[in-house]
Amino acid sequence: MDTKVKISKGFQYTAIAMIVAGAAVIVYSFIANPGRAWANLLLNNYMFLSLAIGASFFIAIQHISQSGWSSMFKRVPEAMMAFVPYSGIIMLLLYFGMKYLYHWADPGVVAADAVLQHKSPYLNIPFFFIRMVLFYIAWMVMTQLLRRASLSEDAQGGMMWFEKSEFYSKVHIFLLAVTFSFASFDWIMSLEPHWFSTLFSLKNFVAAFFHGSATVVLIVIILHERGYFKELNKSHMLDFSRYIFMLCTIWGYFAFSQFMLIWYGNIPEETEYFALRWHSGFKVIFYVNFLINWFLPFVFMLPQVLNKNIKVVKTIAILLIFGQYLDLYEQIFPAVMGSPIFGITEIGFFIGFAGLFLFITAKALAAAPLIPKNHPYLEESLHHHVH
């Protein structure tokens, strides 16, 4: 039984058309308005990277907890991890856009600013890129090891690769905790180098896990609708939606804690962050962010009538992908652009990156049998039943 996903011609052309259309807008916007283009590049690249990292964290958690129910879906997060190296190449391009995005990278600004001088041993261009390369090496090595272990398990069987996957996963979540935290500090938080929040990395890490898991669920549902994953049943849906439910609550907890503590403490150097996000037109986004990323998943994933329903879960998962965009828009755009702008540039960038992500994920998904063969818990997963 070797079911491989067949990528239809239509899908391939659509993805390539999305990439080409996106690339055209991207090139144009770099000529017309480089600052805005760099903000979009950072947003979209970080967003799809976070989905891939979130998926890798999802699969690592499954390995560590030795989950039976999810073992037949493990190719989906594995395929999503394939985006990491591509995002690394794009992220390195930030070198050419430092002066548009990060004002700590401007020597003239730093010379006149005591705080930035104090932070300059950490926030300087060479060290910024050394860290970036180290992070990407860690992620690429770990995701490759996990993927290879999974493929070797298919080929050889036995318990060895199962145990190895668990070990790699433990290393992976440890590395992620350090690297992804600093990555979010470096790339997103240092857009406003005077402001700092220790909850920031936790919130972004959870957001990656949250939206990465939602994307895993969405891809599984889409494949099910296309005739793959025939074994997907109500019990799987219940477990998937429990993930979304649990993560939306953790996301809400961190996002709210960060806001509430700063609001209550009322210290000017901290409140400037939210002051910017409450005025100049971002206030609606602030509330809609909580609505999409916490309230709607919380309400819709609560009753079992809704959270076992494939259509409802699919709608929520699609909504959450836009939720991640909105969350990052709210973090990046006030800092770089100062006012909410949304137009053809934003749409073009998103379509281009979405096309690239879909293309790479689909290719990786088609490269290996969709259902792993020798996973010890495969039977349990195929006949998963919870009460």
Binding site: F256, F259, M260, W263, Y264, N266, L302, V386, H387
Partner: protein
Amino acid sequence: MNNNHIIGVFDDEDALMEAVHEVKQKGFVIGEIYTPYPIHEVIEAMGKKTRFTFAAFLYGLFGALGILAFMYYTAVIDWPVNYGGKPTNAFPSFIVVAVVITILTVTILSLFTFSARAKIYPGKAYILPDARSTDDKFVMIFDKSLSVNNSGDLEGVLKGKGAVEVYEKELKPQK
């Protein structure tokens, strides 16, 4: 009153579940099942449903809305005080209290609901057919008067499905 029961003791969950399905199919009426830990399949096999989760949701809703209304009334309507220049309706800080009180409300009201529905109260005389069900054994009991039908003997069925022990006992409430 004859309160004699047939008691089957099992070593593990799978043997118990097989026996449960078997005796149900043969038409015996299961009196009660005692397990060391909750098994959802048992609840399902006994034909029982629970609306407990919905009750818990209602308690949560009541707790959250109740405490928010209470804080709004005390801090804004009845006794507005200016704390450090905050608005009297300091809504974000209310949420922390609301979360904690909601959890407390749900916990306490669920405990009372469960106790009332299961008729458990302090000092109750309880029936425990086999004390080992609080340790590592799975115990199924049958009312003796209902345990005879034309599908053969109950003891044989239980033994056949892996019961480690089957015996008869008169159940008495214990203090």
